[in-house]
Symmetry: C2
Subunit: 162 residues, 2 copies
């Protein structure tokens, strides 16, 4: 179980854009700030644009901005766009037979496990928005040695009820 490069770098690029609200940031600028090549950033931005997470304009004065305000953008959606979900319905199809059989066989203990883990991750992600990331709310929650979720719930900017 691991994060993909696309998730890591895509989220970073999105956060760089989110830091300058209202402005359009160019690929070159994002690349410079993150220490990535422009070509790679361009590829990542394409994914984010297709997921409607950013809006782009071309030509001079072009660039990218968030499609919505940071407090409305769930990190869960961002990661799902960049790297997909942990568990999807077609997961079983690649090896196991029909879903009915699967449900009663040993393999499906594993399917349930994957569902459980996906559920946990979604739960943890549900209340975290780009704004939380920008404000350092997550970092603080660790500094206080409490669970991230609990700390977020008490922070100055309460997350929406997912």
């Amino acid at each position: 179980m691991r994060f993909t490069a696309q998730e890591e770098y895509g989220l970073r690029c999105l956060l760089q854009i989110a830091r300058e609200p209202g402005e359009f940031m160019t690929i070159t600028e994002i690349a410079k700030r993150e220490g990535l090549t422009s070509a790679y950033v361009a590829k990542l931005m394409r994914v984010l644009r297709k997921a409607d997470l950013v809006k782009s304009i071309r030509g001079q004065k072009g660039g990218f901005r968030l499609a919505a305000r940071p407090e409305l953008v769930s990190v869960g959606d961002v990661l799902a766009s960049l790297g997909g979900r942990l568990y999807t319905k077609d997961f079983c199809g690649r090896y196991t037979g029909t879903e009915q059989i699967c449900t009663h066989s040993l393999e499906c203990s594993i399917r349930s496990l994957w569902m459980t883990l996906d559920h946990s991750v979604q739960r943890a992600l549900s209340g975290i928005t780009l704004k939380h990331m920008l404000s350092g709310a997550l970092i603080e929650s660790w500094a206080h040695a409490a669970s991230a979720q609990v700390a977020l719930d008490r922070s100055e900017t309460p997350p929406p009820a997912a």
Copy 2:
């Protein structure tokens, strides 16, 4: 964020072994039950053996058995052996500078996010053992439309306090 093939198939093989307590199961038998090639199962079993999750004996009458009773084997440990942890300390090293700088920069919001997710996954996995997987406790927890963790806590075989 996704599961590796090694996690999926390695855990399946381990569960096949766990189904026949006391016996030694051969690679051929495991491969047959899971529909995998013997060569691939052999590779997976090596990983499990090096993690001390199974014991092997060679020669005729050889095979594999669990190194410990199913109720003592945490699925979290199994997955960590097969695919590593979601977040590790050296994670930042591959791109960011020192940990101090990292803590106060934007990238570290991401580091905190990865830590949060790792924490959630570990929490979900902490109480799940091979025995739970075998007994169908996870499947039942989904059938009752409750969170897996809650359902497990109430099941006939209470998980150890992680």
